[in-house]
Symmetry: C2
Subunit: 399 residues, 2 copies
């Protein structure tokens, strides 16, 4: 029997996925589970987007252009202009979700064994894409005490070797919710210039910046057009994860020409998703205002509830819809499994993501969990009561 | 300025793509172009599929399961059963087009530098996927004189090294239209058993088998369940290339578990495409009968017209909707470019795919072109007249 590849064997399986069978058993036992474990928003997709798909007049469902439907790319450039990001349609390749944008960017920029420095905790699937591209992620640790601010540039510099080829960030951050300041991004700019590195930035949560704080894109940085690659997705901003539409954006012509070869090999991104995405560009401002208000309320409630619990610490994030909390527990993987296997409060429990899956450094995040506040306030209220009760009785409690 | 990867640099650009700018100029000049160069069918997508998408009652466009919507996979197993392929939903991972199925299969099965033997001419995008996966394609030559029948197994064996890890075929074949016989597949079976190889089979044209000839799948072969991987797509059978829905199918549990890790990293295939694909399973038999009748008529017309032209030879294919013709020309790349740049007949010209892009051996296919008979008969008639006229005046004519 032929053996699978070593690359396949080295593909990581995240701690969240290991919990899924336990969640299935809990469900079969009739327990209600509050899912704070994944970033699948409950917000309705804009009607203007869904209607465009319903009303599409298609006789032959053809391939689109490999870079995406031209009219969509043109209008999408207009969307970015509203964020003061000045690009044209030729700087954009439409991808099958943000996932494919990351995957193509990695294959375009990095050789086997090249190193890419990423502040940890980071989005767990970066591990999968880097394993597939044979790229080595070198984590630089950020800390819950500072709300996961950018580590000092000196910490990055300590990690730079002859193999270092890029830096990757997520801003606003999944899983931290941290929003990088202009100063932090300017310091990254100096770093990538100094060492001639690519700067990849996953900015899929740009619509989710709170408290009037400024969203600064890597595309706003001056003089690093050839270093910067923006990775994007419509999944979160229009609550349209199933559309599978993202984008890879860069002013670096060589990067775009190379990325295009990968895009051509896979023929085209999904047509219906693109039709919806093009229409979604007309989503009224009120939609985002309402969504943002909702998330701010959820965040404020969750953060306050968490910090009121005995021994719990959770910094207040300024973006996205995640937070990482430190809990008074021995082991987050065990705790999250115990919540599904052994805990019940009034017929209910809560599913969380162990933060260990977001750290690359062994042992890091062992007493931290990520919560996605993607449920309505009533559900969040019950979820927080459950968690508080669980922490009172968990056998591995540490204080 | 940081440099793109060597992998990116090594990604092939197909000869067809090089022709695109010339086609654009010809169009601007007002010439009508008959596109026989790509496999984008003109056949209408089944209404039952498009209506299911129109009528989908979606409020939140969520991720689907990473392996694809469960009900779709269940029903899809039923579809395969009608072809005497006995699998269940757990043997199927729904992919983003057949492209992703190929890409995930390659990453799942092969290590960097592993060799995969593929009969040439083969689908040009296999080059892109293998470059992305760092796999080396070793071509084994098939010949136009035999209609591109499977090369003798002894020719495969000559190419087997310690690095050989798999064989890949396309059946019915793109670009050849050749349909492998049961004997040919049985001989491949013995080969993969003898050398413990994976056998990847791209069978996206199974609905397009003509003249009552039998479609034999690698899934029909006994005793090689752990070697065989079926790569599939709905693009051709429902004329739904833009849906981007394919499938990776295997009974090898280790392969499926590994492929699933790649599938999870990219989250999910497109939701609307899957909704359409599930509904399309109810496409009435009459649809396929009509389509098949249409393609047989087109094939018969094109093959006869080609073989009537001076110095042209084109074997009659039994499947898919392509044929490869040998022309009395010096160089197919030059000829195809000349058709777009310099030739006009009654305001019209024809766009063909130089066969050089389907061969991996340098110089092979130099006087061959691939034609996709995806236009209606009236258009095909004019296209054949154009080609005949062009061959009479082409400066690089060889007879």
């Amino acid at each position: 029997m032929p053996k699978v590849s070593t690359k396949g064997n080295s593909m990581p399986s995240s701690p969240i996925r290991k919990l899924v069978p336990f969640a299935e058993i809990a469900k079969k036992q009739g327990r209600k589970i509050y899912h704070l474990n994944i970033g699948q928003p409950d917000i309705e997709t804009p009607e203007i987007m869904l209607n465009a798909i319903k009303n599409a007049d298609i006789k032959v469902l053809e391939y689109s252009h490999s870079a995406g439907i031209e009219s969509y790319r043109e209008k999408l450039a207009g969307y970015y202009a509203t964020f003061n990001i000045n690009i044209d349609k030729n700087d954009i390749i439409i991808t099958t979700g943000g996932s494919e944008a990351i995957s193509i960017a990695m294959m375009t920029c990095f050789n086997q064994g090249d190193e890419i420095i990423i502040p940890e905790p980071f989005y767990a699937n970066y591990n999968g894409f880097s394993a597939a591209a044979d790229v080595k992620i070198v984590p630089v640790k950020s800390y819950i005490e500072t709300g996961f601010a950018l580590p000092p540039i000196s910490e990055f510099e300590k990690l730079i070797t002859s193999k270092t080829k890029g830096i990757m960030i997520c801003n606003p951050g999944n899983p931290t919710g941290y929003l990088y300041s202009r100063e932090e991004l300017e310091s990254l700019k100096e770093l990538v210039i100094k060492y001639d590195l690519f700067l990849l930035s996953d900015e899929v949560y740009r619509e989710f910046c709170y408290d009037g704080k400024e969203y600064v894109s890597v595309m706003h940085l001056k003089g690093v057009d050839n270093n910067v690659i923006l990775l994007d997705s419509i999944s979160k901003r229009y609550s349209a994860c199933g559309a599978r539409i993202g984008a890879l954006i860069s002013k670096n012509k060589e990067v775009m020409a190379t990325a295009m070869k990968f895009a051509q090999a896979r023929l085209s991104p999904p047509t219906f998703g693109q039709i919806g995405a093009e229409a979604a560009l007309k989503t009224p401002k009120e939609y985002f205002d309402k969504v943002q208000k909702e998330y701010v309320e959820r965040r404020d409630f969750v953060i306050e509830a968490l910090n009121k619990m005995d021994g719990v610490f959770c910094p207040k994030p300024s973006g996205a819809f995640y937070c990482i909390a430190r809990l008074p527990i021995d082991n987050a993987d065990k705790f999250c499994q115990w919540l599904l296997e052994s805990f019940v409060y009034e017929g209910q429990t809560v599913m969380l993501a162990p933060a260990t899956g977001f750290y690359s450094t062994p042992g890091a995040g062992i007493n931290e969990v990520r919560l996605a506040y993607v449920l309505n306030k009533e559900a969040l209220k019950m979820a927080m009561i459950c968690l508080d009760q669980a922490l009172k009785v968990y056998p591995g409690k540490t204080n």
